[in-house]
């Protein structure tokens, strides 16, 4: 078996099995050397490419994670009407009410036969980044494709990755489509302060829908320029690292320079449009994550390691336990859909302001051996002003995280409706937000490894 795990974690049993059958992940020619992914992630061995059908949702859809998870994923209408519309289509009363269904399943256009000549890839890269921002992207990057960044499996005639079948020769795919565009939207900062709450769900889901719409528009525009655009073939995080969009944090999230961890990197476009790829960046995540551990300490399921990096599937990185993270959901779905705690507490996740930029620039300007001191100073400031775990009360659209989980109350001033089920406004005061579940309540069924 090529994939190795130095420190197995609870729930890793499924992951340590070979992900795909076939040739081990070694590549020849121009792809013999592994790609440069920056300081936070290193490829140190053969990487076996993951099939789209090996992802958590796909495993769950096949019932491999047990009946509770299967039922949670397939047979549940969300408790919150906004989450029904903006979240996964499985959780709406009618999936046709979810716009992502229409965006993802809409007809795909043909590539324009009149190809636009590109004399200067740098100029085209600037143009594509500007177009992506115009379509709504908050972060955009371009990476040079490498087989280790790709999902295994087939590519459909419409240019999307599909599982099963004979895998495509990935080095050939990279030669044919040498560039990966990584573009996504950021979650609203104020709303994800209500992590483990329907308000945070809204920030996550709506940004995901906007990202889907933006990528659909960008895909169509690249085809209009006369070039190919493949959706979902390349792995977003690997491409984001190579493109210089961000660095990989201890929480398993890409941490960007402007928005911190409040972005999700799932969508990519692989293209033959001549572009100029970016380079990995160094914003000090490697140094910060060694010291901080805020995400690991506040994760309700202990899915984030407090230990060192491990080598898994040939990649040296901090490895989260996705299974325990995922398995909490059926027990909390009446309070929230997506946790987001590791994102909300990350010191990099701040409003995009001058003092945040100053902190990152000061970290960047410090020589690497001396960064530990700066990190400790910045973390002390973060703990002092932002708290160790955010418990901020957030109110939006009638939602109020100041109401204790399980209680129902209308806290809107001036509401004259006869809330038969809620009761009228209660005396919820102060600035304290309640986020379910408390960590001590989850420790009973999810123990930290080695604890």
């Amino acid at each position: 078996m090529v994939a190795t795990t130095q420190r197995p974690m609870p729930g890793d049993r499924l992951l340590t099995e070979p992900l795909t059958q076939g040739e081990p992940g070694k590549w020849d020619g121009e792809f013999a050397a592994p790609p440069d992914l920056g300081r936070t992630v290193h490829i140190v061995g053969p990487v076996i490419n993951v099939k789209p059908s090996d992802g958590p949702h796909a495993k769950n859809a096949r019932g491999e994670l047990g009946p509770i998870m299967f039922s949670h994923y397939r047979n549940r209408v969300s408790a919150d009407p906004l989450a029904r519309v903006t979240g996964g289509a499985n959780h709406a009363a009618d999936p046709k009410n979810v716009i992502a269904q229409w965006i993802n399943r809409g007809p795909k256009g043909e590539i324009n036969s009149e190809r636009v000549a590109v004399d200067d890839p740098e100029a085209m890269t600037r143009h594509i980044k500007r177009v992506a921002h115009f379509f709504g992207a908050d972060v955009v990057g371009v990476a040079r494709a490498h087989p280790t960044m790709l999902n295994a499996g087939q590519i459909s005639d419409e240019g999307t990755a599909v599982g099963g079948g004979e895998p495509e020769p990935l080095d050939e795919v990279c030669r044919k489509y040498p560039f990966i565009i990584v573009a996504t939207t950021a979650w609203d900062h104020d709303k994800i302060q209500a992590h483990r709450h329907h308000i945070g769900d809204a920030a996550y889901h709506v940004s995901q829908q906007k990202a889907g719409l933006m990528l659909k528009s960008l895909e169509g525009y690249i085809k209009e320029l006369g070039y190919s655009a493949l959706r979902g073939v390349a792995h977003g995080q690997a491409a984001a690292l190579a493109a210089g969009v961000g660095e990989l944090g201890r929480n398993g999230m890409i941490i960007t320079e402007k928005f911190g961890a409040r972005v999700n990197m799932t969508g990519t476009l692989m293209t033959d449009l001549p572009l100029a790829p970016g380079r990995p960046i160094d914003i000090g995540v490697e140094d910060y994550c060694k010291v901080c551990r805020k995400c690991a300490n506040s994760c309700p399921t202990n899915s984030i390691t407090v230990g060192d990096k491990v080598v898994y599937n040939g990649i040296e990185k901090y490895k989260i336990n996705w299974l325990t993270c995922y398995r909490l959901r059926p027990y909390v779905h009446q309070f929230w859909e997506d946790c987001l705690t590791c994102v909300a507490v990350c010191p990099y996740t701040k409003p995009n302001t001058w003092w945040r930029t100053l902190a990152i620039k000061s970290l960047q300007a410090t020589p690497i051996p001396a960064r530990g001191l700066v990190v400790r100073a910045l973390k002390a400031l973060d703990d002092r002003f932002w708290g160790i775990v955010r418990q901020k009360r957030v109110r939006w659209m009638g939602y109020d995280s100041g109401i204790k989980p399980g209680e129902r109350a209308c806290t809107i001033e001036g509401c004259t409706a006869d809330h038969e089920e809620h009761g009228q406004s209660r005396g919820v005061s102060g600035d304290f937000g309640y986020y379910y579940p408390l960590k001590e309540n989850t420790n009973r069924f999810v123990k930290r490894d080695g604890a």
Partner: protein, 197 residues
């Protein structure tokens, strides 16, 4: 690229001047309409009404919440119109909606004069907002449709988003360049209207 001061457009040396592809992005029509996201959204029909109706707040509060949601989805303005003739004819109750919700989105370019993939982006944004608003109302358990009426500009004016000019186009009440979403949400969700039509 131009610096815009209200109705004034002052040529400004910016990124567009160095971007040889921008003009085609804004003005060249798509060779295949399916490559334009707004065309994909045109066929988004929407689903059924959730039979389990949620507990509603008072109409003023509900209207304020919809306004917050529309802004979060990307609408620059949103207005609610009470339709006076909603039940005037013999229309059955299922075809009759007492309220119309009109949205306007920011438009860097006017979609009427910029037929390119980029120039049509406000149309896409408008459909995104109206679809999601209507879908949200349906999932709350009230009836709602998002369809293109013949008179969205008149409804926008009635909702207080601006006034109509001689051509029947909306002139925004404030100076921002906006595009009135071509689809309007009709609903029976109890709301506090901004005007009547």
């Amino acid at each position: 690229m131009a610096l815009r001061l209200g109705p004034l457009r002052i040529p400004w040396p910016g990124a567009a001047a160095k971007d040889p592809y921008w003009d085609a992005f804004i003005n060249r029509p798509a060779s295949d309409p399916r490559n334009a996201a707004q065309e994909v959204l045109r066929h988004a029909a929407g689903g059924a009404v959730n039979p389990n109706r949620v507990d509603l707040h008072s109409p003023e509060i509900t209207a304020a919440h919809l306004r917050e949601l529309a802004a979060f989805l990307g609408a620059e303005r949103m207005g609610i119109v009470r339709l006076r003739d909603a039940r005037a004819d013999d229309a059955t109750e299922s075809e009759s909606y007492p309220f119309a919700i009109v949205c306007a989105v920011k438009a860097a370019y006017d979609p009427r004069t910029a037929p390119g993939v980029g120039g049509q982006t406000p149309v896409r944004d408008g459909r995104f907002v109206t679809f999601t608003l209507a879908a949200y109302i349906r999932e709350m358990g009230c009836r709602a449709t998002n369809q293109k009426p013949a008179d969205e500009q008149r409804l926008a004016a009635a909702a207080g988003l601006g006034t109509l000019n001689a051509d029947g186009r909306l002139v925004p009440a404030r100076g921002a360049r906006i595009h009135v979403a071509d689809e309007v949400v009709h609903t029976d969700l109890p709301l506090a209207p901004d005007g009547e039509a």
